[in-house]
């Protein structure tokens, strides 16, 4: 496999490399914020961090919040603004869950970096960036570090705090042991505010020439649930499927793109639709959810036996159609709990049943049987309350 490496140097076969398609960057990377000012919606964190740039005094930090809210982007932008890209190479160590981070690595690699002397910036670097006199260790996705590895970090963090600052990043703040968390300033990253997210998505649509029908941006944000990365991925996939994204922003050579372009021209549906967003997002069409619930609701028109077998068939069909049980659960929940038709007592029991179902699914229970069980319970509850 080693011969895979030495590729760039040998551009001997120039013609071959010319026919190669351009390296297209996924939009999430293309539109990853480059500076703190580009970070949407996380005003509090951004404000505090900007102040630290001015004062050049950075505490240890703990960023936490759901996926796709800008944690990684923020710290990368901050590192870049503090040191500039060149100096960052010697001043910043980024480790994430894809790196081995067991206790031995903490003791060796991290500790060695933490205690190493701070490299000196050149005059040019000093002129362009604050270049504060410390190094930065970013432990991204720190919730996947073991407790042991985390406790091994404690000492290192304290001992070398004069020359090394840490930034821990995680989704679940409770997975970070207390002694570590208490040494850090905490920054909560909120699910993205819809208004801010809309601005961002519309901006990308404009830059990429995405044509979309009314309601698409809202549908994307509904499906993404505050996760901007998911929103951008959805938008890009949808626009590819509809061939609506113009290739103007892409490099021009590539033969491979020619096919795609000619397809674009005669493909009839170049407009991204709400329905396609929902399908790509894995959302179950609401007609299916409504019909499941109708089937579970008591009727006077059929016998109980007919009612039950209708329910059994309906569940079998949604499962065989591949809808994910977790997604069904979310949507069944919303449909029932936000409806005005059921009284408090019924909703109480429904929520309890949903909670149990969620736990079972997470534990790996069979989806078909578990969803059937839920709907049979719901059916019983609705019958009692009507």
């Amino acid at each position: 496999m080693s011969n895979f490496f030495s590729k760039k140097a040998s551009s001997s076969s120039k013609s071959a490399s010319e026919t190669r398609p351009p390296r297209e960057v996924p939009w999430v990377e293309k539109y990853r914020p480059k500076s703190l000012d580009d970070i949407s919606s996380q005003d509090h964190a951004v404000q505090v961090l900007k102040r630290t740039i001015l004062s050049s005094n950075l505490p240890h930090m703990l960023f936490y919040g759901p996926p796709g809210t800008g944690k990684t982007s923020t710290i990368l932008a901050l590192a870049n603004q503090l040191f500039g890209p060149d100096l960052a190479r010697t001043r910043v160590l980024e480790l994430n869950a894809s790196d081995e981070r067991g206790i031995s690595i903490v003791r060796e690699k991290i500790k060695n970096f933490a205690r190493s002397t701070v490299s000196n910036p050149t005059a040019a670097q000093r002129a362009a960036f604050p270049c504060p006199p410390y190094k930065l260790i970013i432990l991204d996705e720190a919730d996947s570090m073991t407790q042991d590895a985390q406790s091994a970090l404690r000492r290192t963090m304290e001992t070398y705090s004069r020359i090394t600052r840490f930034c821990l990043i995680c989704n679940y703040v409770t997975r970070i042991i207390d002694p570590l968390a208490s040494r850090c300033s905490k920054f909560r990253f909120k699910p993205l505010d819809t208004g801010d997210a809309i601005v961002r998505i519309k901006d990308i649509c404009e830059k990429e020439n995405v044509v979309y029908e009314e309601g698409v941006v809202e549908a994307i944000l509904r499906a993404a649930d505050g996760d901007l990365r998911k929103a951008i991925t959805l938008l890009q996939s949808a626009s590819k499927l509809h061939g609506s994204s113009s290739s103007s922003s892409a490099p021009l050579d590539a033969d491979a793109d020619a096919d795609a372009d000619s397809m674009d021209i005669d493909s009839p549906s170049t407009t991204v639709t709400v329905r396609s967003i929902e399908e790509i997002a894995g959302r179950v069409p609401s007609s299916i959810i409504t019909s499941l619930i109708t089937t579970a609701s008591p009727t006077s028109s059929s016998s109980f036996s007919e009612h039950f077998s209708a329910l059994q068939t309906a569940v079998e069909n949604v499962i065989l159609d591949g809808w994910s049980a977790a997604q069904l659960l979310v949507q069944i929940h919303d449909e029932l709990v936000f409806s005005d038709e059921y009284d408090g007592t019924a909703k109480n029991s429904i929520v309890a049943a949903i909670s149990e179902t969620d736990k079972r699914l997470l534990d790996g229970s069979d989806e078909h049987l578990t969803i059937l069980d839920l709907l049979v319970k719901v059916s019983g509850i609705l019958r009692k309350s009507s």
Binding site: M1, S144, I280, S309, L320, G364, S365, D366, D373
Partner: protein
């Protein structure tokens, strides 16, 4: 000689016979130049793998079908050596987590980085990136899934992942947020019938429509099972008739007999007899959750409607326990006992009325 399921597997997207809109979508993605990471999900036997292999071919051409299997050795931090098979072509690689047990995180970390840090060997390759297909992605440990996160972002110029799973429920949110979800529904009964006809025609077998329909129905919308049934029926019978008997697998016959026992006899000795049958099934490597699920649907077909909700309730309850507990036989047995009890009470109430 290969099985019909493999022999007649469509090799390209346009040869796939059902879900045409999905094929179109995959092919525009393949043509778009920036293929995303995919999470492909759907019930087993729905044709996920076939569709993905066809997509790979669309991405790279026939070279992806030239597969080799390498044995690789990984060393754990505790210095244990792990041997692991990697299936690959020069464009893609395929891994199956269940082959690696609890060490999946280490293997994933090493393997993906290696792929990501190397470039395409074939300079004339149609894509710059290589693809790693992960089968049964829903059985990856959480640790291993976490290890994928930043890798998927950082190495996106060189690497695309295609995750295959039965459901997205056990895929962590940060991964779902990084992938395009692709749902592959099981083919409809009609889809299956027409594929059965097409295969029969190629094999020059006369297939009566009524039989095709029955095979499709019996398969529970599982195409693989339907094709295997067709082939074995053909092998076992001189000719196929509309009423040719479709044999039930042995294990299912045993489960049916358990269901019959449960309805008939609610005594302690009967429970012992049933226990022996459960043991027998487990000894033949039939997964306990499959046994329970099959059993409950057989029971549902036999009991009065009024009793059904309770049967489902307890079946789901003990099925969950199977996953959480340490000895599966306890929970199978407990379900059997529970069923006997509720059935007995129900019969009693009927008599009192």
């Amino acid at each position: 000689m290969s099985l019909w399921v493999d022999k007649h597997r469509p090799k390209s997207l346009d040869a796939l016979s059902y879900h045409p809109e999905l094929s179109t979508r995959l092919s525009s993605l393949a043509a778009s130049g920036d293929f995303p990471h995919l999470l492909v999900y759907g019930p087993s036997g729905a044709g996920k793998k076939t569709r993905i292999v066809a997509t790979l071919k669309e991405l790279y051409g026939p070279g992806v079908n030239k597969i080799k299997i390498d044995s690789r050795v990984f060393v754990t931090p505790s210095n244990r050596k792990l041997e692991f098979n990697v299936v690959s072509s020069i464009y893609h690689m395929e891994i199956t987590p269940s082959d690696m047990g609890n060490n999946d995180r280490i293997i994933i970390q090493e393997l993906l980085k290696e792929v990501a840090q190397t470039q395409q060997v074939d300079l004339s390759a149609k894509q710059r990136f290589k693809v790693v297909v992960i089968n049964e992605a829903d059985s990856l440990t959480r640790d291993a899934q976490a290890a994928l996160r930043r890798t998927m972002e950082k190495y996106s110029p060189n690497l695309r992942l295609i995750l295959l799973a039965n459901s997205t429920s056990n895929i962590i949110a940060p991964i779902r947020s990084r992938t395009l979800l692709v749902r592959v529904a099981a083919p409809s009964y009609d889809d299956i019938s027409s594929i059965l006809f097409a295969v029969a025609k190629k094999e020059r077998v006369a297939l009566p429509p009524a039989l095709a329909e029955r095979i499709a129905l019996e398969s529970g919308r599982n195409l693989r099972r339907a094709l295997l049934t067709l082939e074995s029926l053909y092998a076992q019978n001189d000719s196929l008739a509309p009423d040719t008997q479709i044999p039930t697998p042995d294990w299912e016959v045993v489960v049916t007999s358990i269901a019959d026992d449960l309805i008939k006899d609610h005594s302690a000795p009967a429970l012992l007899k049933i226990r022996a049958k459960f043991y027998d099934l487990l000894a033949h490597c039939i997964p306990a959750d499959l046994v329970l699920k099959t059993l409950v649907f057989k029971l549902l077909a036999k009991v009065d409607a009024e009793l059904k909700p309770e049967v489902v309730y307890w079946a789901a309850f003990y099925e969950h326990r199977i996953h959480m507990g340490s000895k599966v036989i306890f929970h199978l047995e407990a379900f059997a006992a529970k069923f006997m009890r509720i059935y007995e009470i129900y019969l009693q109430a009927m008599m009192d009325n």
